[in-house]
Subunit: 340 residues, 4 copies
């Protein structure tokens, strides 16, 4: 099935997300999966049972050193991202790495610069911005139908696995911040964050971030690892319409509300008058193919044609910059951090 | 239908909420509605059409001065509360006033002290804490079934009427703070608030409050007047179970999730181990009678027997104290306000 | 508040539905409620408490005989409809009667003929067809947007009060059949019905009706008094779009699905080819005022101007004709009844 | 990975369902997939891309004739079931065949008898009865918690692929009838069915089946291929509690309503009195592993140990018997068919 134009990809990490990456790589007509690495024997055995023809190794370095590999997909814990990505780039491989790009702003900046210097693709797997629902929301925002954006509110609550090396902001809010950045294409001016830890390691498991923008927009993200109720909802309000997104719904995830208000100021009387308006709701048809399929497609396009992927390293760096500001606000009791 | 033991109540304000108060007063077997005041002729005409037998006046002072009245229900804008409540108490009347108790902490403290001095009932109409759903949640919390409370998260979003004298915190968050106080029976130690105004008067129409408690609990309230999507949801997490409340549902508003996690610390390895647990969900039967009926009943009981009502003046004062702290945090860019 | 052009209405029956009728009559600017009759003292006392100014009597005949009354609203059990309506018409009063018009096809035909002979308004309170949701559905059907109607499916399940004089078809399906008739404006050619009784009186408490039309449309109605889960949903499919209606939702009751299929027949190969199409969903804005307000308005218009009301006696008779056919099918084990 | 105790399975049909069967066979530790047959080249290429190590053939007979195969999974159109199953059994292979067992009662009876004679496993893939949700419902029914069953109501609506060889009853109602049979373990005494075809081949695309049982239970199934709204809901009522199942929900698919009524008959007055009761709702935890995994496991157990599978040939035959009765009722205009 292979031919000379096939792109050879290796995978590092076959834990929770790795199998999804392998499955989507396998389904892509231009890719062959050359090797998969994981230090855990039972993970490699699981791969062997369903895909006996894929070679496995236990050490990441054996993937990085492989001569016949064009690109590497890295799905390992965040604190390993910097060294693995850097080594892969050093070996001349294109890289697709799990979000967030790195565990600190400093590391993220270093990786962006190094990939640029090496002229290699460095892409971050911010899967959400490749989903049909978010792409539909992006089109609605870009079309001007929503009007001037006024607020973005996101809640991502779950009874999720506690990460042992990062708090809930770096783990979950990374998703929301990537969606926010993709939709609004600008970075906040002020960031506040509050949160709490219920574990001895002091890593926050519930946190709230408020971001304010120079043009008066406000964004708010709430994240939790300790909610038995799964909530994944985003509200995007413009001065013309509003989008509501609920990712827990099996269908009809995106709704557009043709409702709002407008303000008139009576200067003489020094009073405000509000006009309220409410109309139909539209549930746009949304592409339902797997988001990760789009990530892989974008990675392939970047490797083969040099086109910048949607979630390139600069995109990933911007996400990390807000994460870092939120972290700093947390450390000073919720006070505001000036970003620009 | 009346007899000597009937309590005579006057009503000031027949706008949005007044008709509900009048209807519930009329339905109570021990109350007669003696007079209703409103400065707007069309409001009094509306009352006359459906209840021709109730006398009306245009001035609040005529209700306050009426000799044959035992209590007064006040449903007017917040900035009139202080003077109307004070005058009613001065005239020896028991008072039920709309939430919040007053427009400032100073005024609220003054009213509490004055009612105490006059030995009169001063009750705040925090309607929500009399609803079947919230009462069920209170029972669950008190029973210990939820365990030690860890977090409270509330969202109250609506395309609501902008108030011209108060921001969205004083208007909407007053509801959530009353529910929070009723459930946890303690006040926060630290309060942060962020928000934004999209109108020239500078009053916030979207805001977020984080409250942290001495015992490690965190509470968060998000409120908005500018959301076409109506959201009214509260999540209360304990270390044993979790309650989810969705007031926009026609039924099944309260759900109890028997799910959670527990933490073990391996001291030698300096690692945390989490055990996750997920079980059934219970949707408890909830009383569906009108919450305001319970408010009126509590007001009657307080007037006739002297029993303190659930949302007495001290309760209302505590709500105002947190509102005031949130307001002060807003003014200093979201930084934390120390309450105790 | 009254003047010479005020229409004087009496009400017979102040049980479950009577209070809603009285409240809506009171709110109408052209109506005065002259008298209310009920044989149960406690019902009249309930009325006296909230509306002390309305005169009451215990006997229906005292309403019918009253000289100064223009119209009578009758909200009593079905088996009393024939005699009360007939007497009211005989006394020269216009009549609004609860659905269904009468307990048998014979009685319904008699009332229609008699009202015609007396040139009086005889209107049936099929409240649903005055609701904003159903009116929106009617507009969608009439506009041609849905295309040629192919199917109507309705479920009305509840843990409802068992009627002691009629089965669940005459009680609940009367609602669905009125909606169906209002939307399609034609009567079925064939009716089948199956059902079961779980009580000794043999009256069905669960039943299903299938109706087939000459043009190939099919309609199906399922009704139950014994379902703790409340279901009130209707699906209307045309060959272009589909409407889904869920009355248990607090909002967004009506949804229009721009989806469907078309059939091509390959004559040579004798095969069918289907083309499937799926697009956006629209949730149209729906009037939210009370349906009964529209019923009363229509009754007033009919009495004062002679315009035929939407649910006039002929409309009510057609509903009864299908109910009667369903009843006959039940009695012959579900076999088809030919209607026309 | 293989050893002597591995069961060798071949698969016939790699269309819509075949890939799911192959994936679940591959995941089972005791099975090896020896060969997959499909006449469509593009289907075999799809398999080759993701699973290069599985041999493929184009003809079913090459699977049936293979010496080293123990069992065969058949996922082909219904009208091929009889000949393929019969040939596989004749070749001494155990068989797992897609539902329904066969396209006619006569064929189904023949297959059951032949499998018995050959002492081979013949199992029908009624996947639903292996799902966590239906297994939970079965436990609830068996425990007596629901009480004496009174009604079963099912709706399965979809914009689904029209089958060219069978109507919607044989395609979709086969699912509901298998769930019904699994839950109640008895066959109906009377069957009525109505339906309509909107295509020239006359195969019904919307149909309704009512089944009545000797003990007074009623069951109703509505199925449609032409509904853009996907509905998959089942209500099971007993005289103590009720179960509601909604398969379109991402979670909380099963709910148990502790509500109902009881009937008292006053013999002297010849009247019925109803007592209504409503309590909590329970959402039981439901196993979320894939249903097809359970089917495969049951097939393996039957082949290796001889234990009868849950959906054995006799089970599949009973489903076909009701399908056949429904078909006959359709042909006589909805009249009742006596089954026993």
């Amino acid at each position: 099935m292979e031919n000379s134009s096939t792109i050879k990809v290796g995978v590092i990490g076959y834990g929770y997300w790795g199998p999804n990456i392998v499955r989507n790589l396998l389904s892509h007509s231009d890719i062959s999966v050359t090797v998969v690495a994981d230090q855990r024997k039972e993970r490699l055995l699981a791969l062997k049972k369903t895909h006996p023809s894929i070679p496995t190794v236990s050490e990441a370095k054996d993937v990085i050193a492989a001569k016949d590999i064009d690109g590497i997909a890295i799905a390992t814990p965040v604190n390993t991202h910097y060294s693995l990505v850097r080594a892969a780039l050093a070996a001349g491989k294109h890289v697709l790495v799990e979000k967030p790009l790195a565990a600190s702003l400093h590391d993220a900046e270093g990786l962006v610069a190094y990939a640029q210097k090496k002229s290699l693709v460095l892409m971050v797997d911010h899967t959400y911005i490749y989903s049909g629902a978010i792409e539909t929301m992006k089109k609605l925002v870009n079309s001007g139908e929503i009007g001037l954006l006024q607020s973005f509110t996101s809640m991502r609550f779950n009874l999720g696995l506690f990460q042992s090396d990062i708090n809930v902001i770096w783990d979950l809010a990374a998703h929301d911040l990537s969606i926010l950045l993709y939709l609004v294409e600008k970075e906040p001016a002020l960031v506040n964050a509050t949160g709490i830890s219920h574990t001895e390691n002091g890593l926050e498991n519930i946190a709230y971030i408020t971001m304010r923008y120079k043009d008066g927009m406000i964004a708010h993200v709430g994240v939790s690892w300790v909610s038995p109720v799964k909530i994944r909802q985003i509200l995007v309000s413009g001065d013309r319409k509003m989008i509501a997104y609920d990712d827990t719904q099996a269908s009809e995830k995106v709704k557009v509300y043709d409702a709002g208000y407008s303000v008139r100021t009576d200067v003489e009387k020094q009073r405000l008058y509000m006009d309220y308006r409410s109309g139909d709701i539209l549930v746009p048809k949304v592409r339902t193919t797997e988001a990760l399929e789009g990530v892989i497609e974008d990675f392939v396009r970047a490797m083969s044609s040099g086109v910048r992927p949607r979630s390139d390293a600069e995109f990933g760096l911007k996400v990390v910059r807000t994460l870092d500001a939120a972290e700093r606000s947390l450390r000073k009791g919720g006070g505001e951090i000036l970003l620009s």
